[in-house]
């Protein structure tokens, strides 16, 4: 298990404490000189950390003045540390310490503190930049633009500054080594560190940092992806959950990486996209069944979790399932010039499907094949205690969050592929009247729009479901709490309807309120129906009824039409218009990899 930011920061602070103890035990000029040099190094590292934070300030945060106080604090922190660092450099020059080779024990510990802080900064940097080996980006770069997260980091720096400022003040007062000119520099150094403390205290007084943000910072690990472990044998529940979450993390990384390669990579094909969509619809289906099963358990009420919350999550995942089905269906009619299931994410997606299926069904060797079908696991078997309940909910949350990332990344990738003329239509799928003398023709705008609409549904459905699950995860303090916190921190307060989970991993859609329960839903609930798909259908029936009534009241008719679209994509209407659309757009292009039969 790799170290977290908190582990490294804590180790650094322990070195600082130890250095102070050493100084108090033996306040000699020799030790003071070592301490000055150690502090100079540490102050430079702190300055880099502060600069990283202030550089992440969004041009327009859009979160109101209260949120902006942390960005102002970041600028003040950087300024304070710059002052301290410059004064320290000058002071060590005056004291002729630059040539000093031995730091002494106290100076060594302060230097080590700086080294640990540098390692913690490097860990954060792995989330800000793409890995040079794999080209993958972290899940969380957007979190660095969250003022609360910046606040957590600045609070940590303020803690360090306070420790160093106290030590420095003590040093300046008692050190017999300091000439009067150096005393002035020491005072400037002290004021620089104190400015960092003041900036954080001022900002915290207006917008306190939530414990969640601080915990997220301290729990952050480097972006190293967990190794793939294929589900080769029957695994216990804990292992299934752990490995499923690891697969989810790997899929998110692969989806982000692949999205930018869709215009040229032969490994990214329509068949890969369709397979991923089918797998996503299976995952959301399984997730919905898991949540419906554990929603019926009595003991979850004792964990501060209302049963309604679990129910909402189950319905939201059912809605995500419908969105992914649309995507899978949309790919029936469109292809690319390359084929096959070569996308790197497919192996991990297969693992995730298998493990989630083995959590859902009472068969440790479950596969999608009918011959391995099994009854659903009983609630008592699925989550017999709070720990396992939290693990299962975290697994579902990670899986659904991954689907939101994949939907967003694939939507972007499809657009790229279309612009690179990679999307084609098998002409045999078109009507006989469309007399095209090739096996494949170029996909038109209409095809692209159909696919994009389907992806939009998948993005919205999956993001809503992930956001609903975040609430459960945070209440249960489930293992995916850092991910849930990161997503919530990186989401603007104002709804941004144009994008969901961005390709860099942040969710920005606001939760779409599920329709309020109408008479059909209430009747089904009264009859004891808990199946999320039945309830979703009932909800849509109620909504359609309300919309119909509204229509005749002369209100809200437009909205009603938009909401009640069935997942099915009608390819017939597209092919009707295919030829005219295609001829207007560009001349027929043959995919290089596909052979074709000339028209007789």
């Amino acid at each position: 298990m790799s170290a977290t930011f908190g582990d490294l920061a804590l180790a650094g602070r322990e070195h600082l404490d130890f250095a102070i103890t050493l100084w108090q035990r033996e306040p000699t000029a020799e030790i003071a000189a070592g301490i000055m040099l150690g502090i100079r190094h540490t102050a430079e590292v702190m300055l880099h950390c502060a600069h990283d934070t202030s550089a992440a300030t969004p041009v327009e945060s859009g979160r109101g003045r209260d949120a902006d106080v942390w960005w102002r604090a970041a600028a003040d922190t950087e300024s304070g540390l710059r002052t301290a660092s410059a004064a320290l450099t000058e002071a060590t020059g005056h004291l002729n310490l630059a040539r000093k080779r031995k730091l002494g024990s106290a100076g060594f510990h302060i230097y080590q503190a700086g080294q640990f802080l540098a390692a913690a900064r490097d860990l954060l940097q792995t989330h800000r930049t793409a890995s040079p080996e794999t080209g993958t980006m972290s899940d969380w770069p957007a979190v660095f633009e969250a003022p609360e997260f910046a606040g957590a980091l600045l609070t940590e720096l303020a803690g360090w500054s306070k420790q160093i400022a106290d030590l420095f003040l003590h040093l300046a007062k008692t050190d017999p080594l300091l000439p009067s000119q150096s005393e002035r520099l020491c005072l400037r150094t002290y004021r620089g560190f104190q400015a960092v403390v003041d900036a954080a205290e001022r900002a915290a007084a207006r917008t306190p940092v939530s414990p969640g943000a601080a915990k997220l910072l301290h729990n952050m690990r480097s972006t190293t992806l967990p190794a793939r472990r294929q589900p080769s044998h029957a695994e216990p529940m804990g292992e299934l959950c752990r490995q499923a979450m690891a697969s989810a993390q790997r899929i998110r990384a692969a989806a982000r990486r692949d999205a930018g390669q869709a215009n040229w990579s032969p490994a990214i094909s329509s068949e890969s996209w369709q397979w991923m969509a089918e797998a996503a619809s299976i995952i959301s289906h399984l997730a919905s069944q898991i949540l419906a099963t554990i929603g019926g358990q009595d003991h979850i009420r004792h964990q501060g979790l209302p049963t309604g919350q679990m129910h909402s999550a189950s319905l939201a995942t059912a809605s995500a399932h419908a969105g992914w089905q649309q995507v899978a269906w949309a790919w029936d009619a469109v292809t690319t010039e390359t084929s096959g299931l070569a996308s790197p994410a497919i192996a991990d997606m297969t693992d995730l499907v298998l493990r989630l299926g083995r959590i859902t069904f009472d068969n440790p060797l479950w596969t999608p094949a009918r011959m391995h079908r099994a009854p659903l696991r009983k609630a008592a078997d699925l989550a017999p205690n709070p720990g396992e309940l939290a693990a299962v909910v975290a697994t579902v949350h990670e899986a659904i969050d991954t689907l939101a990332c994949v939907a967003s990344a694939d939507r972007q990738a499809v657009e790229l592929a279309y612009r690179a003329w990679r999307l084609h239509v098998p002409t045999r799928c078109l009507r006989v009247e469309n007399d095209i003398p090739h096996s494949f023709g170029p996909a038109t705008n209409r095809h692209l729009r159909a696919i994009q609409q389907a992806y939009n549904s998948a993005v919205t459905g999956s993001t809503d479901a992930a956001m609903t699950l975040e609430v459960l995860v945070l209440v249960l303090q489930a293992p995916s709490t850092p991910l849930a916190t990161a997503r919530r921190l990186s989401r603007p307060t104002e709804p941004v309807l144009a994008s969901g989970h961005s390709a860099t991993g942040s969710a920005s859609l606001q939760p779409k309120d599920l329709y309020p329960p109408g008479p059909t839903v209430k009747n089904l609930l009264r009859l004891g129906v808990t199946d999320p798909f039945e309830l979703l259908q009932a909800m849509l029936i109620d909504h359609a009824g309300r919309a119909l009534v509204d229509k005749y009241r002369g209100a809200n008719s437009k909205e009603a039409k938009g909401h009640n679209r069935h997942p099915a994509v009608h390819h017939g209407t597209q092919s009707d218009r295919y030829q005219a659309d295609s001829l207007h757009r560009r001349p027929t292009l043959l995919p290089p990899g596909k052979s074709h039969t000339p028209h007789p």
Binding site: E271, D332, S339, P368, P426, F440, T597
Partner: protein, 139 residues
């Protein structure tokens, strides 16, 4: 529904010539896709099998569409019976049998063709048919 699937199987079994076989194979894959799509929402615990089978059918269909010897035009099929849904278990079994027949016919007939490209397409499509059979068979 079941009659349509069985008719398709009979038609496949009785087709000899490579061009006709590819044409019928294309229709068979498309029938599997359509039937899977129609039944996947109603099949409960078998959803995963139906969804993956539909995707495999699309792959098989696209592979066949790229084979050099396939006639450019589709055969006009009356698919009126497809509107009716049937028992999902029976449908899955019938589709598994059709996929097995498809795999067998593609493997045996395409081997005898002169064109390497047809042979490759037949082999790849047979693999997809075999995966559909493995997904949908209950035994």
């Amino acid at each position: 529904m079941l009659a349509d699937i069985n008719d398709m199987r009979d038609w496949l079994e009785s087709t000899e010539h490579i061009a006709a076989l590819l044409s019928v194979a294309w229709e068979a894959f498309d029938l599997i896709r359509t039937v899977c799509r129609q039944h996947e929402t109603a099949c409960g615990t078998d959803f995963a099998a139906y969804a993956m089978a539909a995707a495999a059918a699309v792959r098989g269909r696209n592979i066949i569409a790229a084979a050099p010897s396939i006639p450019p035009r589709r055969i006009n099929l009356a698919q009126a019976g497809l509107a009716k849904k049937a028992d999902t278990g029976q449908v899955a079994d019938a589709l598994a049998v059709l996929a097995a027949a498809l795999s067998g016919r593609l493997t045996s007939t395409v081997m005898t063709t002169a064109s390497r490209a047809d042979e490759q397409a037949g082999e790849q499509a047979a693999t997809q048919a075999e995966s559909i059979r493995a997904l949908l068979t209950s035994r």
